[in-house]
Amino acid sequence: MEKMTRVSTVSGHTMFCHLDAPANAISVCRDATQVVVAGRNIFKIYGLEEDGFTERLNLRVGRKPSLNFSCADVMWHQMEENLLATAATNGAVVTWNLARSCRNKQEQLFTEHKRTVNKVCFHPTEVYMLLSGSQDGFMKCFDLRKKESVSTFSGQSESVRDVQFSIKDYFTFAASFENGNVQLWDIRRPDRYERMFTAHTGPVFCCDWHPEDRGWLATGGRDKMVKVWDMSTNRVKEIYCVQTIASVARVKWRPERRYHLATCSMMVDHNIYVWDVRRPFIPFATFEEHKDVTTGIVWRHQHDPYYLLSGSKDSTLYQHMFKDASRPVDRANPEGLCFGLFGDLAFAAKESLMSGPSSAGDVGRKTYPGGDRRYPIFFFKKPDVREQFAQVSSALSVFESEAGSSVGMDWFINTAQSYLLSGKPFAELCEHNAQVAKRLNRPQESTTWTMLRIMFSEPANPSLSSNHNLNKSGNLPLVNSFSMKEMSAALNERNKENRQDNLHSLETNLNNNDENEETEGSEGQAEYLFGDAELDDDDLYSMEHDNHAAEEPEYLLPQEAFPLRHEIMDHPSAPEPVQERPESPHVSGSETENTCLTSTESFSLISVSQLLFSPHLPPKFFCPIVKEMLCFYAEQGDVQMAVSVLIVLGDRIRKEIDELTQEHWYMSYIDLLQRFELWNVSNEVIKLSTCGPIMCLNQTSTTLHINCSNCKRPMSNKGWICDRCHQCASVCAVCHHVVKGLFVWCQGCSHGGHLEHVMEWLKQSKHCPAGCGHLCEYT
């Protein structure tokens, strides 16, 4: 009841008055009718009236006031309404008695501190007890009836920034320090602190006991944090933490609101924030009136949560009304979007927005229902009636990226290892690579390979077959090997070609008749071919293969297959088939010649092809498209695809793309491969490349410099005779002849000789053939 009446005496609105000088601190008297403002050049008492501030008293008297008037802090006694204390920047603690009749109200002066006093604090219930904390690291307790301090507390650390008597525990006070510590003291025991803990990194500028909750202490530091500590347990526990945007200069619990506190900053940020400690990410209310940093904040009445007074360096004194505060939460954006480490995308939005019908694009979306325990409690919380916070409930969706596609680079490694770049007929390479891409769940690449095969491979059959209205049967094997969807693009492409080709068809046929017996032959066999193809349904090989098998399945397939397999195994001998191959057309029937030559060309990479493309389907026609496609892949970052296609296509496309671009692609791809330690693949790519600078990569750092074994000087031209001492440098340790070929030597004793000799020697003996006694080893 008493409380009610007291509260009713406070009334007013947001108002301010100009001070003569910047304020350092303010304090309010118990009945909330007067406020004292203290600073370096100001020490005044203002009355709080209905319609504004009125100056009541100027305590700064004398013509040239001493530094004792330069206040770092001020406090109005909460029991004795005439009693004030100030902390002076010169280290003095001064008490003032407003009841004194003369102009100078100074009552007592304590000059015991050696450095600036940062804080003074009256005991909340004891009239004559005053506590001070100073830059010199000491806290002193004064009995105002005596001339000097009654006890001195040494923090044993750096400067004291704040001291606060506990409101509930008679004997306890807290002190915060510049080194980040907070200490708890018992006023009766000046020898040692009761507890100490590190609260912040960097100085703790302020602390404040909770007015109701016995164990709660709020601290604010230069590290821009406000922390609430629970002292009631054995171990001091941080229960709330608010991250602000600037160092925290003052913190004050809001009366009658258990979870609210007000803060202001010392630097840069001029606003006063009121936080709900349970909602640490957004201020509950903001007062934005000041033009310079706020130096002092105080709630006008200890039981009234609606009036806040503040003083500032901009020389103004404000009374803020809570209803006039701005509420940042109203302006906050309740939507959030974030990418995870592995490409997941989390998206939070108001539930009302998210409740709409889920669209077709919702694949892979997971919605976390409210109350999911895996997420921090503040994320989904039960609405609290007392909280006074606008309730926003958001729904969180996480779009997980599909494993294997964009996650990591596994696909890259797999692809690099599985792609075949040479050693098989062109069509087979394409086919194989398409399969690889498909297996790795990369449909676009797979389709690209298929299309390339169709565009550039053995020309006659596919198009001719469509010319002959055998589309249905002709496509059947394809449909079997690729899904319909993937093929559709390729088919469209082909249909287009075909349509155009239809124009040529007559001519083509004529040409065929005129020039290419074999084409004609295959054409003639077309019906038979596709009839047979249906039998070969399970054969997932290429069209070309199908054709092949269809044409002469009995004897040609084995003949084709074996040399090719051999090719893959023993790649270094790749050029040989070029010489071999030309014979085979002569040997085999005219129908096969076409196929064989195509395959020859694909792995020899030396173009003999121009003639082989049947004129009715000019491969050049596709080159711009393919070029564009390659550039597209390279742009997308898939340089692997660009280079692979470049190699497989070889001369078909090479001239279309300028050397520099090619070189750039090769370099990027080789670099990538080497980063993934795919040395073999990288070497293969280097070998297969046709750019001069790339091929040179294999030739670098292959020189071995050797010194003469006699004169120890570098050998210049020949490996076995030294120019300077004219001695044979490399003599075989076994046969004592000069080694002019492969020279092998032991890295331990550096003796060696002919490869075969040393090999044989070391089969029989463990010791060095030179007789040096070294135990050589041949591996």
Partner: protein, 444 residues
């Protein structure tokens, strides 16, 4: 000639002393040598500055870390800019050593050699910085909001706030480092023909400053023993108030400096040719308005320059937050530097340390409410005060020879310690003024 040989002795002597020192503090020695190794590995050479600081390894560590951070690590300014700014700052105090050091590094990080021809050859953006450089180096209290505003609002050639803060930190760092270099005598390393000697009256001798190594001479006895050399200085010794003395001797120094300047200009012609050889190291090309120098703050107080009150704007409360916000992490590094220099064990009383620190700040117009400045006069002997003032305000080998600085420390590491204090206090003073101006700019 004699002077030269003596000088050689002196340098050799300190080197020995220095090495002895290192041997004596064995546990610290390892730490120091480790740090030196690191520095050596980093830069391919171990500069004399690091060598000097190695007697205080815990400080050296944080110093090197800060220096590395502002010169080479993340920051808004490109590396050639950073070194060029360092050159500009060092040139203000005519510190050949730092100028040539940073010139070399400037070229190494790919700076345009043309810029080294002088300030006019540098981009206008850097030229704009010249004014604040000048002011911060000599009369930091003149730094005003308008300077900051001018730099941030000059259209095309404007600076961003973050860049400016880094530049200011760099300037302050290099200015104060000049003091250290001067105080420790490292500058002579790079000057094969120190002009000082030509311009110095024959009565002066460089070895004075190091003589303290050989024998401890109690402060009052010191001047009388060495009286013949410093007669002219000590003639004013009877004056009671030491502050007055300082002022007077300051004037004397100035007078003499004037003389010396005069004689220098005469001698300058002689050394001109030699200078051609070390053309790249001549710092005056990076300086405009070379006559601008330190002026007594106290004399100007009556004008409109307010005393800077630490209680209103301190490093811990204000400077740190601002600098750390605009140039991330530098606050912590600088904080560590200030802390480590404050925590260095000083063999004398902590009061003396505070007196030195506050005296330097006082020279720059920064006052502490809670300090009785009478203490400065009680604790600091005159020679030490002169030494501090010369090192802090006139670290220019051309103008102030070390020889008349009579302060004779007991140990070489004490001297290094005082030099460190001067450097850090000066750094903080410049930073406080610059940061306060930036704060004022931001508020407005």
């Amino acid at each position: 000639m004699i002077i030269c040989t003596k000088k050689m002795d002196y340098r050799f002597g300190t080197q020995c002393q220095f090495i002895q020192n290192q041997v004596m503090v064995n546990s610290e020695k390892e730490r120091a040598s480790l740090l030196c190794m690191k520095a050596l590995a980093n830069r391919g050479r171990l500069d004399t500055v690091s060598q000097q600081m190695a007697s205080h390894p815990q400080y050296l560590e944080s110093f090197l870390r800060t220096q590395h951070y502002i010169l080479y690590m993340d920051g808004p300014l490109p590396q050639p800019y950073r070194h060029y700014i360092a050159i500009m700052a060092a040139a203000r105090h005519h510190c050949r050593y730092l100028v040539s050091l940073h010139s070399a590094q400037f070229l190494r990080v790919g700076g345009d050699p043309l810029w080294l021809q002088g300030l006019e050859a540098a981009p206008p953006r850097l030229q704009h910085l010249d004014h604040i450089n000048k002011v911060l180096a000599h009369q930091p209290w003149l730094t005003a909001r308008s300077h900051i505003q001018a730099l941030l609002k000059t259209g095309e050639q404007c600076w961003s706030l973050a860049e400016l803060v880094q530049a200011v930190v760099l300037l302050a760092h290099c200015h104060s480092l000049c003091s250290f270099v001067f105080g420790s005598g490292s500058d002579s390393d790079s000057t094969p023909t120190p002009r000082v000697h030509h311009g110095t009256p024959p009565g002066y001798c460089l070895c004075d400053a190091a003589n303290g190594n050989t024998a401890f001479s109690p402060p009052p006895a010191g001047p009388t023993e060495k009286a013949p050399r410093r007669r002219s200085l000590d003639s004013s010794c009877e004056v009671a108030c030491l502050l007055e003395q300082i002022k007077k001797s300051q004037e004397e120094i100035k007078e003499r400096k004037g003389d010396r300047l005069h004689s220098q200009t005469l001698l300058h012609a002689d050394v001109e040719k030699e200078d051609e050889a070390v053309f790249s190291a001549d710092p005056s090309r990076f300086v405009s308005d070379p006559e601008f120098g330190y002026q007594e703050f106290a004399r100007r107080e009556e004008d409109h320059f307010q005393v800077f009150r630490v209680q209103d704007y301190s490093w811990e409360d204000h400077g740190f937050s601002l600098v750390n916000r605009l140039y991330s992490d530098i606050g912590h590094l600088l904080d560590e530097r200030f802390r480590s220099v404050a925590s260095l064990p000083f063999p004398h009383s902590p009061d003396l340390k505070r007196a030195i620190w506050n005296y330097i700040h006082c020279i720059y117009g920064i006052r502490y409410d809670d300090y009785d400045y009478g203490e400065v006069n009680r604790l600091l002997e005159r020679g030490l005060k002169l030494y501090i003032k010369a090192v802090a305000c006139f670290p220019d080998a051309r103008k102030t020879p070390l020889c008349p600085l009579s302060w004779a420390p007991v140990k070489a590491s004490d001297k290094v310690h005082v030099n460190l204090l001067v450097m850090e206090a000066r750094l903080q003073a410049e930073l406080l003024y610059a940061l306060r101006a930036i704060t004022q700019y931001m508020i407005a």
